[in-house]
Amino acid sequence: MLIEAKPIGHFPALLIFALLASLALACVTQRTTVERAKYAAWSLFLFVAVAVGIAWAMYPLSR
């Protein structure tokens, strides 16, 4: 056993996924650094906003 599994909450996991995926997509799809930064920021915001929106939309179903 070299690395022990760590409990990661749902929201931190969402943020990690959104950040890393946004950076990779921005790097592939945009040409300049400024364009990449804007694209990554917008993509990160949309990832989080859509996830939180879907979570609230499903909230009544969990009760």
């Binding site: 690395i3 599994a5 749902h10 996991a13 890393l20 990779a24 040409r31």
Partner: protein
């Protein structure tokens, strides 16, 4: 067709050499995320892809996501294996990061499975990007 500038070193490469370089870049990019871009002198992209792929894969392992073996048994298992194996060296060392094995009985483990697959897919995208740069289709 216009004549290329005299100081353009790229014109010295023959098509066969360019092809072999592209193959080397593709293989390197798959085995070690970012290595293909590193060979092409794209340090920024190399670091970014290594961090993105490594971050997704290691987070997936820490969440105890499922790692699909080469013989998945069905089409979905095979597709999942291809996605997982896309992360190259991170798939090879999966047991190093996830020695306790997967645990998809919890939601976190299920998320981890998606993280690991996403890491492989992101690396496959980076492989395509490196190939396009190596073959001059992209700057």
């Amino acid at each position: 067709m216009s004549e290329p500038p005299a100081n353009d070193t790229r014109v010295a490469e023959t098509p066969s050499k360019q092809s072999s370089t592209a193959i080397l870049v593709v293989v390197a990019a798959w085995i070690v995320p970012g290595m293909g871009h590193l060979l092409l002198g794209r340090w920024g992209r190399a670091i970014l892809f290594f961090v993105a792929v490594g971050g997704l894969a290691v987070t997936g392992y820490l969440l105890r996501g499922n790692i699909f073996p080469p013989r998945g048994g069905d089409v979905f298992g095979t597709l999942a294996f291809l996605a997982d194996a896309g992360s190259g060296i991170f798939y090879y060392f999966a047991r190093f990061f996830e020695a306790a094995g997967p645990d998809v009985s919890r939601a976190a483990g299920d998320y981890g499975t998606r993280f690991i697959a996403a890491a492989g897919v992101v690396n496959l995208i980076s492989v395509c990007d490196a190939h396009e740069i190596a073959t001059r289709r992209r700057s």
